[in-house]
Structures are given as structure tokens and as C-alpha cells.
């Protein structure tokens, strides 16, 4: 790791949180937490889910700022306005969910976004490669540096995240659950690195759940509970039992409603249920009126089991029976029809539509039942909502207020009500009280107990031990996809559960057996040497094949296809289309689109021609510059409204398309600029030939080469890809997204303007209708060329080939005397074929990379 030999002495405090408090909405995440990170030392942060660990990480990483208290680095209080600033201050973070860029290569992911005094605008590939090799070796990752990140398994991607953090010149290294997806061997590697860094005086923080790992790596351990710092002690002096006690240390008395276990018949039973990459061999029974708890760490497979029970995912082995009969759910709807309800742990992402009102959210599951005469009846909706919301004691202003205005606890009540309205027989609750206040929790618990006593079978997934122990009649504990323990209410204790969930009590560790949560080792990576050219070969090769498939038969039927005149005309058309298509590519890479290109071409063409007509002394150069200027201005207008006005690109460019056309029409006032009204030199610009190749094509190819180089070898170029690949991630690591997108639009506009000059020169007579409808041809060329509309990927070669494919098909069909009107239909088929193939290839790629994400 490129670490300046630390000036810190061993043990000196490098960074710390001092009295930090952070509040989100109404919830206090952490309160008055002070922890110190010392040079050459690892501080482990322990705590249950929701104890506040990730908040501490994010405060130090610069993602949030504390509401009270400070972040202190090198003795000075700092206020990070962005993660980039934290990075510059010398803090490196290994995130739990890496915000990496699937479309960029492994090597690029290591270094993207690291703008600093050292780096230049160019990418030094050689240096990058050697650095990347070194880093990958350090973490023990064998991967092709040039392969796109998306081809790596999740565990490998985690290693890239680790390597990335190590590549920074960091005084402070924060590791947030870095081992969650790793195999034992990889974990060993990581610890070796940690030891190395320790020797270099780096201050480190390690957030984790596996006691074994924590005790191996930590010098000191800080324990958080409910947002408060319970204590910090030296690892050697802290026994595991006491650590656990500090983590959970609450008494259980009187907090949970009394609930009698039932002796009813078995309602649902599960045998040997497995899902590859998620969980294995899970069996249990569920009776009506009982509450069965699922304990275990995050990622141990509990939610995955629930999703299979609810029909969202399909099991790969095992059986489920309901009322004694085997069942198989193909969708959530199936499961719901059989009386199963699932309250997701992701309240905002999977349980609520934030824009909907309380009432509308409540009715989402019972829409058909809440109707009267085919129309949704408000009184019916209220009948579904009122009972449960009242029982849960929802605090709200009106049934029509959007749920986004409710606190977390009240939102959860709406979610519960929504599911209870379906009158389920089996209710699966996934972290139902996560992130909600105490009062709401109590209301929810009361409701759960009530429901059980009325005969509902309940599965309660919870990471909160008191809740598990207080509410459940029985519980099973999962660890890394397998059931590690079963307890009845009487025999369970917090310590036992935590032991079963982690490996705190494990005497042996099967070092070679991979966690089921990590990828199945059946997958063998392709030989990296062959993979790259093979993938490359797919898209571009397919286009070349398509072109050949048209050229060869057509040339046989009509040899004129390969004649000089035809090729020359084809070349000119290609030059004109490629120039503007590559500009469109830049915009699409960033996950935007520009529908106004054709209108810009028209405006620039007319502008240049008409100005030259009035002022022929401007000459060819003047005309071209003017056209480029018009294009640039148009691109900037588009760019500004998209980036700073925050209006989606498709809307903006739809508007500017009509505006620019209209301006063109007004400027032209119905006039034409005909060939004899402009200087001959202007017209000659495009009829020039260089060794028989039209100048237009040469100019276009030169432009494409420049852009290809810029995209590949400059930092800005790679950043464009990053923005399209993962916009939020790009923002987070400090890429100036707005400026880059503005640049993309500006360059796109400039190229369109330039194309306008070429167009006016080639087609000589210019009016307000130049290039009408051309934008769809441009987008078609880009799409056929393999540039994904969702952004983040695509090559200049693809654009060139896509252009050629379309034009060759056009030309070929004309030459075999196919009615030119039929061309439209063919174009449509070509576009559909292109995206169909893309989708097919993508699906094959995903399927071959089986595993949890």
C-alpha cells in the first residue's frame, strides 16, 4: 500500500468521533459517541443491528455530518462536505455494499475518482496496471484487470472494494463488514494485510459480526448498544461473554406481552428447503397460533427463506406443505391467495409506495375486495384500514396524507395493517420493529401477540434478541444459510442465540468449507486470457458478420455495390452519420439521451450556409466555426437544463428539439440557400478526396479516433462511464457528475453542429427542413452499435459498426431494388434484433454467474 511512512507514533490518536450525535427523521441513530482510532491499532466496533455502527462509519467517511459533536482528524475538527473530502484527509473506507461500477474494468474500479495532486488528466495505463497487479495480489484476487467488474462474483467484487480502499494514501482505514461475503482463505489474506498496515502505523476500525475474526484482529473493542457507547476495552481484557452481554445487556422483564403457546395442528411445514447460494436444508413446522422466531445475523439466509415461502423466489430443492398438501408458489399473488402474507424488512423499498396516501397503501393488497360495483370504494377502503390502524394506534393527521410524512414507526403500522387486511393465515414478519420508536414497537408487539392468540401462524424474523426471546414460542437460529440451533422459549437465552448466530462458541472452524452465502465453488472462472477477446468478439463481431451478410449476397446480385461511386457515396453518408452518432454516444453513456441532435444539425447547417451567403468573406473555416458554435451553444442549453434544472434529458431534448426546429424555421422564413448562393469552396469542402476516400469519412474517422482515445485514456472519459454505470456511486466518490454530463452534452452538440456544416456542404441546398427526423436514425445507429440505453457501456467501434450496418442495409436493399419505402420496416427489425440479442447475451451472462448478490 502506498503509505507515507507515518509520522504518527504508535498509539497516537489519528481520527476520532467526539461526542457525536446523529438524528434521522425522528430517530436518534447515535447519541454522544466518542471513539478514537489510534495509529498502528485496530479498533473493532461491536453491536447489534441498529446499534449505530454504520452511522459511525458514515460519519467518519464523510457521508454524513454529525448533528452534535465533531469528527476530529489529526487533532483538528473537520467538517466533511463529501466523501471525497474525507478521502483527501486520508480516510479510506471499505464499504459493506460497495458502490462500484459494473461496466468499468477491475483495474479502473480500483482507481476511479481518486482525483488528487498526484493524478493527471491522462490515464497512465502502465502504472495503473502495475499498481493494480500489486493490489490484487495483496488481497489475493486472481482476476483479469481488464475484465468488466460485472463479471466477477460478489466475493471477488468485495475484494476489489478492499483493494480499492488500500490503494489510497490513507492514514485511517475503516472496514465495514469486509468479510461478509468472503471465504476463509480470503479472510486470512485480509488479516495479513491488516497486520502489515498495523506495522505501518495506520489507524484502523473494523466493524464486524464474527467474534472469532474480531478477536483475531482487534486491539481494542468498542461496544455500541441502541446508539450509545457502552464501553471500550482492550481485546485481551474483554471476554467474549462479557462482550455479548455489553451488546445486548437489557433485562427482559415486562416488556413483552404475555402469550400462551398453542397446541394446534401444524399449518405449514417445510422440509429440506434449499435455494442455491442462499440457504440449504431448512426444515421446520409452523402451527396456527404460534410465533416462530428466525434468529441469526444479517445475511444468514432468513429473508431468503421468507421470500421463498412467499413465492417471490423459487426453491431449488425441498418441499413446502400447507394444510398437509404440497404447495409451490410461482408468484407473490399465488402465496397471497393461499393466505400467506410477508411484511418485508425493506419498508421503503418493498412495502410502501411513498407517494401514496395511508389509505391507498393500505388497500394495495386488497384492491379487488375494496371495490363496490367495480370502483374502488372509499368506505370499503376505510373499512379495511380503520380497524387495524386503530388497534395499532396510528398517529396521523388524515387518511389521505402521504406515508412519506409519517415517522418510521407509523409507516410500519400502515404496512402491518395493509397485510392484515388480507386476513392471512400465515404472517411472516421480517424485522418488523427495525428502526421504530419504543412506543410504536410496543403497539406492534401487542398486535402480534393478539394475532397469535386469534390463531394466526407467525414467523418472526428479528435481529433484536430481546424481541426474539420475548415474543417467540420457539425459534430457529440460522448461520450462513443453515440452521445452527433450535430453541424453545424456556431454554433460550440471549447468549445462546448469539453464540449460535455467530461463531462465538464454535470450537472448530471448517477452514475449507465455504459459507453457503458466498458463491458456490462449482463455478469456475473462464480463462481470463481467452474471455476478453471472446466477449469483445460478440458484439462488434456480430455487426461485422451482419454487414458481411448483406454485402456478400447483394454484391453478387448487383456488383455495383462494390463500385467506386457506390462506396464513395456510402462513405460520405457514413461520415455524416458517424460524426453525430459518436456525440450521441457520449450523452447516452452518462444515462441521458439527446433527441434534439437533428434539429441542431439543421440549425447549424442553415445558420452557416445563410451567414456564408451574406458574408462570403468568412470563408470555409468561418462557416465551420460558426456551425460548431451553434451546436455548442445548443448542447450547453440542453446540458444546463438537464444538470442544473434537474429536468430529465428525454423531456428537455424533446422540448429543445421543437424549439430549435422552430428557430430554424423562423430564421429561414421559408427561404432556401441554394448551391449557387454560397462560395464554391464551401461546397468543395466535402467533395474533396484523399486517395479516393472522401474527405468527410476521413474527418469522421479522425473524430472517432480522438474520442475513442479520450474515452479510454483520460480520466474524464472513464468518469463518463462511471456516471452511467452507477450515478449514485459516482456522486459518492466525488466525481463532479454535473460538470461531466454538461460536458457530454456540450461535445454532443458541438459534433452535431460540425455535422451541420458538413451536411450543408454536401447537400448544397439548405432549408429549414434539413435532417428532419434524422435523430431516430442516429439513435438507431447507436443502439445497433451496442451502446446500452441504460448507460455505462459502449464503444466507439460499436458506433462505427452500427452506423455502417444500418447504411449498408439501406444501400443493399436499394441496390437489389427493394422498394425504398420498405426500408423503414427493415430498419425497425434491425433495431429490434439488436436489442433482442443484447438482452439475450446479458441474460446468459447473468445466468452463468450464479450466486447471491
Amino acid at each position: 500500500m502506498a503509505v507515507a511512512e507515518s509520522s504518527e507514533k504508535q498509539g497516537e490518536v489519528v481520527a476520532s468521533l467526539s461526542g457525536a450525535t446523529k438524528i434521522f427523521g425522528g430517530t436518534v441513530a447515535i447519541s454522544d459517541v466518542s471513539i478514537e482510532l489510534r495509529a498502528g491499532e485496530v479498533l473493532a466496533l461491536l453491536g447489534e443491528n441498529g446499534a449505530g455502527k454504520s452511522t459511525c462509519v458514515k460519519l467518519l467517511a464523510g457521508v454524513y455530518r454529525p448533528d452534535i459533536g465533531k469528527v476530529v482528524v489529526g487533532g483538528e475538527p473537520v467538517a466533511f462536505s463529501s466523501p471525497l473530502q474525507a478521502q483527501r484527509a486520508g480516510i479510506a473506507v471499505m464499504h459493506q455494499h460497495p458502490g462500484l461500477f459494473p461496466d468499468l474494468s477491475v483495474g479502473e474500479n480500483l482507481f476511479i475518482g481518486q482525483a488528487g495532486p498526484r493524478s493527471s488528466w491522462r490515464i497512465d495505463r502502465a502504472r495503473m496496471r502495475s499498481e493494480a497487479q500489486r493490489l490484487l495480489q495483496l488481497v489475493g484476487l486472481h482476476a483479469d484487470i481488464d475484465a468488466p467488474l460485472s463479471r466477477l462474483r460478489t466475493s471477488e467484487q468485495q475484494l476489489v472494494e478492499i483493494a480499492r480502499a488500500l490503494s489510497l494514501d490513507a492514514r485511517v482505514l475503516i472496514m465495514d463488514e469486509p468479510t461478509a461475503a468472503l471465504s476463509q482463505r480470503e479472510v486470512e489474506r485480509l488479516f495479513a494485510v491488516v497486520n502489515n498496515l498495523r506495522g505501518h502505523g495506520v489507524a484502523m476500525m473494523f466493524v464486524g459480526h464474527r467474534m472469532d475474526e474480531i478477536y483475531r484482529v482487534a486491539d481494542r473493542i468498542a461496544v455500541l448498544r441502541d446508539g450509545h457507547l457502552v464501553g471500550v476495552e482492550r481485546a485481551q481484557e474483554l471476554t467474549r461473554e462479557r462482550a455479548v452481554q455489553m451488546m445486548v445487556g437489557r433485562s427482559l422483564d415486562g416488556l413483552y406481552p404475555h402469550h400462551e403457546p398453542t397446541e394446534a395442528a401444524v399449518l405449514m411445514s417445510v422440509k429440506g428447503l434449499s435455494r442455491d447460494g442462499a440457504f440449504e436444508d431448512v426444515s421446520f413446522e409452523l402451527r396456527a397460533g404460534e410465533i416462530l422466531g428466525f434468529g441469526g445475523l444479517v445475511g444468514s439466509g432468513r429473508t431468503e427463506i421468507a421470500r421463498v415461502l412467499f413465492g417471490i423466489d423459487q426453491p431449488t430443492a425441498g418441499t413446502m406443505t400447507l394444510d398437509g398438501a404440497d404447495v409451490r408458489f410461482a408468484s407473490a399473488r399465488d402465496a397471497m391467495d393461499r393466505g400467506i402474507a410477508y411484511v418485508s424488512e425493506d419498508r421503503i423499498g418493498q412495502s410502501l409506495v411513498m407517494d401514496f396516501s395511508i389509505l391507498a397503501n393500505n388497500s394495495l393488497t386488497v384492491l379487488d375486495e375494496a371495490t363496490h360495483g367495480g370502483l374502488v370504494s372509499r368506505s370499503n377502503e376505510l373499512a379495511f384500514a380503520k380497524p387495524f390502524l386503530d388497534r395499532l394506534r396510528l398517529r396521523f393527521h388524515s387518511y389521505d396524507q402521504p406515508v412519506s410524512t409519517l415517522s418510521g414507526g407509523n409507516q410500519q403500522k400502515v404496512v402491518l395493517s395493509k397485510w392484515l387486511a388480507t386476513q392471512p393465515r400465515v404472517l411472516i414478519l421480517d424485522e418488523p420493529t427495525q428502526g421504530i420508536d419504543v412506543q410504536a414497537k410496543a403497539d406492534v408487539h401487542a398486535m402480534i401477540a393478539d394475532l397469535a392468540s386469534q390463531g394466526l401462524a407467525i414467523i418472526l424474523i428479528s435481529s433484536e434478541l430481546p424481541e426474539l426471546l420475548g415474543m417467540c414460542d420457539r425459534m430457529i437460529v440460522l448461520r450462513e444459510g443453515r440452521i445452527s440451533a433450535r430453541f424453545d422459549r424456556d431454554e433460550a437465552t440471549q447468549e445462546k442465540v448469539i453464540s449460535a448466530a455467530t461463531d462465538a462458541g464454535e470450537a472448530e472452524r471448517d477452514a475449507m468449507r465455504p459459507a453457503v452465502g458466498a458463491e458456490s465453488q462449482v463455478f469456475t472462472p473462464e480463462n481470463p486470457g481467452l474471455a476478453l477477446p471472446r466477449l469483445f468478439a460478440r458484439r462488434e463481431f456480430g455487426l461485422v458478420a451482419a454487414i458481411a451478410a448483406v454485402v456478400i449476397p447483394v454484391s453478387i446480385l448487383n456488383p455495383r455495390m462494390l463500385s467506386g461511386a457506390n462506396l464513395s457515396a456510402l462513405a460520405m453518408d457514413a461520415g455524416l452519420l458517424m460524426t453525430v452518432a459518436v456525440g450521441q454516444m457520449l450523452v447516452i453513456i452518462t444515462r441521458n439521451i439527446d433527441l434534439s441532435v437533428a434539429a441542431v444539425i439543421g440549425l447549424a447547417a442553415y445558420g452557416a450556409a445563410s451567414t456564408l451567403h451574406l458574408h462570403p468573406e468568412l470563408g470555409v473555416v468561418g462557416g465551420v466555426l460558426l456551425a460548431c458554435g451553434i451546436g455548442l451553444l445548443a448542447g450547453l442549453v440542453n446540458g444546463f437544463v438537464v444538470t442544473y434544472g434537474k429536468v430529465p434529458a428525454i423531456v428537455v431534448t424533446l422540448g429543445t428539439m421543437t424549439i430549435f426546429r422552430g428557430l430554424n424555421s423562423l430564421w429561414a422564413g421559408g427561404q432556401q440557400i441554394s448551391a449557387d448562393q454560397v462560395p464554391q469552396s464551401w461546397l468543395d469542402m466535402t467533395s474533396a478526396n484523399l486517395f479516393g476516400i472522401p474527405a468527410v469519412l476521413i474527418i469522421a474517422v479522425a473524430t472517432l479516433l480522438v474520442i475513442a482515445w479520450a474515452l479510454r485514456s483520460t480520466v474524464i472519459g472513464r468518469e463518463l462511464y462511471a456516471i452511467g454505470s452507477n450515478p449514485a456511486g459516482a456522486q459518492l466518490i466525488g466525481i463532479p457528475v454535473r460538470a461531466r454530463v454538461l460536458l457530454a452534452f456540450a461535445v454532443g452538440g458541438l459534433l452535431a453542429g460540425f455535422d451541420g456544416a458538413l451536411w450543408a456542404s454536401r447537400y448544397a441546398t439548405v432549408d429549414a427542413r434539413v435532417a428532419y427526423g434524422f435523430e431516430l436514425t442516429v439513435i438507431a445507429a447507436v443502439v445497433v452499435g451496442g451502446i446500452a440505453v441504460r448507460g455505462g457501456s459502449g464503444t466507439v467501434l460499436g458506433v462505427a459498426l452500427g452506423t455502417l450496418t444500418l447504411l449498408v442495409i439501406n444501400n443493399g436493399l436499394t441496390l437489389v431494388r427493394v422498394d425504398p419505402l420498405w426500408l423503414q420496416g427493415v430498419y425497425g427489425l434491425v433495431i429490434l434484433a439488436a436489442i433482442g440479442i443484447d438482452a439475450y447475451v446479458a441474460r446468459r451472462g447473468a445466468a452463468s454467474r450464479k450466486g447471491a448478490h
Binding site: 461511386a565 464513395s568 449557387d676 451536411w759 448544397a764 434539413v770
Partner: protein, 337 residues
């Protein structure tokens, strides 16, 4: 939401009520003096119609009244219908239209007539029931024959040729093409000439160039192209020149002389043309005569058109400007457009 629905319904019905109160013009009305004539060309960017308009304005200066022009941005019937309605709303006396599609605009024109607006057509006709007179630049069959004859002479009456027209529904071009086909079938001297394809240049420089080139490529034995579309002939000439085929493939057709001057002078292209400005001039006079009920489209009627003299209405309400000329290097300078 309900309130919005109610509000918009109220608004709509109040508008309708207001409009119903507005008086409806009576169907038959003869103007007593010069009226406003609304010219409605095929396309706003075609210079042909700009020049014709100058003729109309000259006529307006002479006898009074006003000549306005509104043109669509797309050479389609749909676009023209919108302008027909606009002109009627602006209460012009006469609409002079050069139609993109003879039948499609007919209902709108009939509606206009119901509102008391008179209709004449120029350059490109509409369904005869929808207009009073049609001002044609030259007799359709005469133009067709001239073009065919011109092409015949260029290729020695032997070989393949193609036609590059404007839009597929353009009345005038289609009429000429039909005449040409009939003539070829009827007269033996054209027996060895073969029409291989009719292509469409869509009144666009780019499309015309591409189509011309495409014809040359698709038919290796092509000897000539007839281009009865003003924008098309110069465009095709440019395309052929760029491809080096200018002498090999002969071009002839109808085009503004000034735009094709270069190619006329070096003999590679032939052109048949007329004085466009005069067409506009004539149309204006005819329109005023129709507005004042002095002209009803019956065969044999006559009227005076200023400096151009007297004109007689022919069959089917058609008025001919006069014979067209062949543009040669000798007389090319005489044509101002």
C-alpha cells in the same frame, strides 16, 4: 378531481355556447371589390412558391386587395388542412391552394366553401368539385410530352430510364407521370424506351440526391432520369456530378432555370420551364374574378389578367398559363427564376 372535470366541462360548454352565437357566413356571397387571397403552397421552403408569390404581390399592387401566404412545414395533406381552416377563420375571400394530395384536402375545402370562401387551385390541382378554377402552368399532357420527348432525344429513344418525382400523392406530378405512361404506350417511337422505376424525392435535397444515386446504382443500364420536381433536378444533377455520372446518365425535367443554369450551360441537363412569377400573377387575377363571381369555372368563360392579357377557361375548369419553354444555353439568362 371531480371539481376539475366539472370545471373543464363548464369551460368547454361555455366556449361552445359563445361560438354558436357567432354568425355563420352565408354560403353564397359575391364580393363587390378586391378581397384578400390566401395562397397555400405545398411546402414553406420551396422557392418556387416564393417566386410565385412575388407575381401575386405584383398583381395585388395593380388591382388592390391583399395576397397573403401560409405554408405548411410538412408536405402533407394534414398540415395543409390546418392552414385551410386557419385561412377560413381569418376570413379571406379566396384560398389559392397547390395541393399535396388532391383528395385528402377536398373535404376541408368543401367546408371552406360552405363558410363562404371561394377556392381556386394553382400548380397542383385538387378534386374538381372542391374548387372553382385550376390555374395550371402548362397543359399537363403538353408538359409530359415535352419531358418525354426531351428524354427520348437525350437517349436516342432507346434504353432504360427512371422518374424521380416529388411526393407520392402530388397531384400534378402524378398527372404528368400518367400522361407520360399513356404516351409511351400509345406512340411507337417510344417503343424501345423502358420506364424501370418511379422514385420519390420527397421535396428534400438529401432524399433527392440519395434517390438519384440509388437509381443509378440499382439499374446499371440506366440511361436517363426524368425529374418533374423543382427541387429534384438540381439535386440529382449535383449527385450525379459528385458520382462522376453526369454525362453518362442524362437528366431532364422541370426545374427553376436559375438553379440549374450551370448544368444547362454545359449541356449535361435539359430543362423545361416557364415564368413562375406569371403563374402567381395570373392566379391572383383569377382569384379576384372568382371572388366577385365574374368567374364560375364554366368552360368558355373569359377574364382579363392584367399585363398577361385574356384567358379562357378550358375543360374541367382549367386555365392554362401558356406553353412551357425548353431552356437552352441560349435563352437561360432570360429566366429570372
Amino acid at each position: 378531481m371531480k371539481s376539475h372535470l366539472v370545471k373543464s366541462l363548464l369551460l368547454a360548454s361555455s366556449l361552445v355556447a359563445v361560438a354558436s352565437l357567432a354568425s355563420v357566413a352565408s354560403a353564397e356571397e359575391c364580393a363587390t371589390g378586391p378581397v384578400t387571397v390566401g395562397f397555400l403552397p405545398k411546402l414553406d421552403t420551396d422557392p418556387y412558391f416564393q417566386v410565385a408569390q412575388t407575381g401575386a404581390e405584383e398583381a395585388a399592387a395593380e388591382i388592390g386587395g391583399k395576397a397573403i401566404k401560409q405554408a405548411p412545414s410538412q408536405a402533407t395533406a394534414e398540415a395543409q388542412i390546418e392552414f385551410i381552416n386557419n385561412l377560413v377563420s381569418q376570413k379571406v375571400g379566396v384560398i389559392a391552394i397547390s395541393a399535396n394530395d388532391a383528395n385528402a384536402v377536398a373535404p376541408a375545402l368543401k367546408r371552406a366553401m360552405q363558410q363562404g370562401v371561394k377556392i381556386v387551385s394553382y400548380d397542383s390541382d385538387v378534386a374538381p368539385a372542391a374548387r372553382t378554377v385550376f390555374l395550371n402552368q402548362a397543359a399537363g399532357d403538353s408538359l409530359a410530352e415535352m419531358m418525354l420527348e426531351s428524354m427520348g432525344k437525350l437517349i436516342d429513344y432507346d434504353g432504360e430510364f427512371a422518374i424521380l418525382s416529388s411526393t407520392p400523392t402530388a397531384t400534378n406530378q402524378n398527372a404528368w407521370i400518367d400522361f407520360m405512361k399513356a404516351k409511351m404506350a400509345a406512340e411507337p417511337k417510344y417503343a424501345k424506351m423502358k420506364l424501370v422505376q418511379v422514385a420519390y424525392g420527397q421535396e428534400s435535397e438529401q432524399v433527392n440526391q440519395q434517390q438519384a444515386l440509388g437509381l443509378a446504382q440499382a439499374f446499371p443500364n440506366l440511361k436517363g432520369i426524368i425529374i418533374p420536381a423543382g427541387i429534384g433536378l438540381p439535386a440529382a444533377a449535383r449527385a450525379m456530378e459528385q458520382a462522376g455520372l453526369l454525362g453518362k446518365i442524362k437528366l431532364t425535367g422541370l426545374a427553376p432555370a436559375t438553379l440549374i443554369k450551370k448544368y444547362i450551360q454545359d449541356g449535361s441537363v435539359q430543362d423545361i420551364w416557364w415564368n413562375v412569377k406569371d403563374l402567381g400573377y395570373l392566379t391572383y387575377f383569377a382569384a379576384q374574378a372568382v371572388a366577385q363571381c365574374k368567374l364560375t369555372g364554366k368552360e368558355g368563360e373569359t377574364f382579363k389578367a392584367g399585363r398577361l392579357g385574356d384567358y379562357t377557361v378550358g375543360k374541367g375548369g382549367e386555365v392554362l398559363l401558356g406553353p412551357a419553354d425548353i431552356v437552352t444555353p441560349a435563352n437561360v439568362e432570360e429566366f429570372k427564376f
